[in-house]
Amino acid sequence: MPAPRFSIVTPVYETPIDVLWLTIESVLAQTFDDWEICLVDDNSPSPKVREVLDACAAMDPRVRVEHRAENGGIVAASNTALAMATGEFVALLDHDDRLHPDALLLVDEALRGNPEGDYVYTDEDKITARGRHTGPFLKPDWSPERMRTQMYTCHLSILRRSLVEEVGGFDPDCEGAQDWDLVLKVTERARAVLHVPRVLYHWRGIEGSTAANVDEGGGEAAKPWAFEAGTRAIQAHCERTGVQAKVVRDTDDPGVYHLNPALREEPLVSIVIPTNGQRREIRYQEVTLVGHCVRSIVDTSTYSNYEIVVVADEAKPGGAIAELEAAAGDRLRVVPFDRPFSFSDKINAGAVHARGEHLLLLNDDIEVGTADWIERMVMYSSISEIGAVGGLLLLEDGRIQHAGVGFEGGLPGHPYYGYPRGVPGYANAVRIARDLLAVTGACLMTRRDLFEEVGGLSTTFPINYNDVDYCLKQIERGRRVVYDPDLVMTHFESSSRSSDVEEWEKSQLLHRWAPLTTSSRFSNPYVRNEVPRAASVFLWAKRSKYRPRKRRPAAARA
């Protein structure tokens, strides 16, 4: 028999018979025929499991079954199933979940569209104990940064078998998070990662499953070791890829992880702050914005190797510079600016005088809220393919001002603007680090060589959109733009100028970047403003309806 396109790998242990049948039946019902399923019974105590598996194997030669002589756990059983696989690709299916009838067909189509695809993932939903479909997870396209903080690709995952073998299959040290570990290892070597934006996998939330809510006996309560294994898997990945980070678990959400900086060295960082010396009231006290900003940097930052380059209008109030000198001392350098106001021009002027390896663009109406903010930014900025990094900005009263830039109709906006701090966002979007098309220039770090390579900020956007344009220039060159949720700053927004965007600015941005910004690269075509579109939910509900066929082995009927 020639090798099939897909080998579905399914370790089985003491699965309820009806559920097991539905799982196998969902494979038999595939509209794409070129597959095999490798079922490995991990020595289940119940003889019924063996009966059902053997009956299914007798029904269809593509169903291959092996019974392990002793129970070895999920990793051992999965590796046994991997050893049985002969297909070009390996699809991971849990023993109690179900595939959409078109799952393999659509994955095959995606792979035909891009033959370099070494890893493919699809959207997913959950099935309750009563069989109801809930919580569709409509995922973004490939985001390496998100993958380091959340196992978001999860189901359905299809990996090129040769790569799986190359990395040694499932790692016993990562029992409970073996899928995540395997996907991280494979994607480190993958030529292309593909996303099929359709709900093609139905994850069953039975008692004891990670898919179930914590309240229902699932989640962390079900598999606490799985989340510890997750930490080990990400940490090992960071070490392999040179990310200078220490991985920690989220205290509230066991499925979320954070990268904390563990820098080997501290390169010089130039913080470039454009200012016109404006004064305003902050927390019931009149202050000079730039003075307040610089004081917060000096008082809060734990990073030692930085300079502050203030680009100041020549017509600024006289006392402002003296205030800055008193706060920052030798770290301060003032660049006088005598041209008409242009944010881009001011930043570019500051960058010319900056000596650092990394440039940190900072508005003068920002207050530092995270002690290791520079370390965090350097951690990301040091990764070769990252072009820019930004963080979570809050308004004066603690509401969200910026948690990454989103696009609607090709134009940028701030999803979650005005939402209370602590709101997790769609699929934890606010809480996790992730790749985006752009972050705000109010607090943005980029490497100096990358800044110079793209000609700095475009002066054709003197007031608005210069930051978005800069990020898109980096994206166009194949780099990534990252949002870090643990870098928290307060932004006394648009204190220094009007926030109104002119029509010509919108037209210019669309003219230059519409092909990139109207795509759904870091969103999902069925997600709008970080919320699943109503129409998509109807589409999902309709297509998720799935009735088992009549063909059913006697063992499963019993």
Binding site: D397, G418, Y419, R421, A534
Partner: protein
């Protein structure tokens, strides 16, 4: 009651007493300012929650507007209006 600082009674008070009084008042101002900042943060949380509700409501209104049956759309929007009014 006369103002202790501007009244003649204040003339006899020592410099140290004045300074202590000013320090006490400064401390009280700071305490009240901190209280205001805390209240602002609490208000921010509430305003944030309100923003979430408003956004949901707006999305529902947009969805209702797309219902192709006129009578049903009217009933749905009426329910939505009642909910919005009762939510205020």
């Amino acid at each position: 009651m006369p103002d202790p600082i501007n009244s003649t009674e204040a003339v006899g008070a020592s410099q140290a007493e004045h300074e202590a009084e000013i320090a006490r008042r400064d401390e009280e101002i700071l305490r009240l300012r901190d209280l205001l900042i805390t209240r602002d943060a609490e208000l921010g949380q509430v305003r944030g929650q309100l923003k979430i509700i408003e956004d949901h409501s707006e999305r529902m209104a947009r969805l209702v507007a797309r219902i192709p049956i006129p009578g049903l759309a009217w009933v749905a929007s009426a329910i939505l209006r009642v909910l919005q009014v009762s939510g205020r």
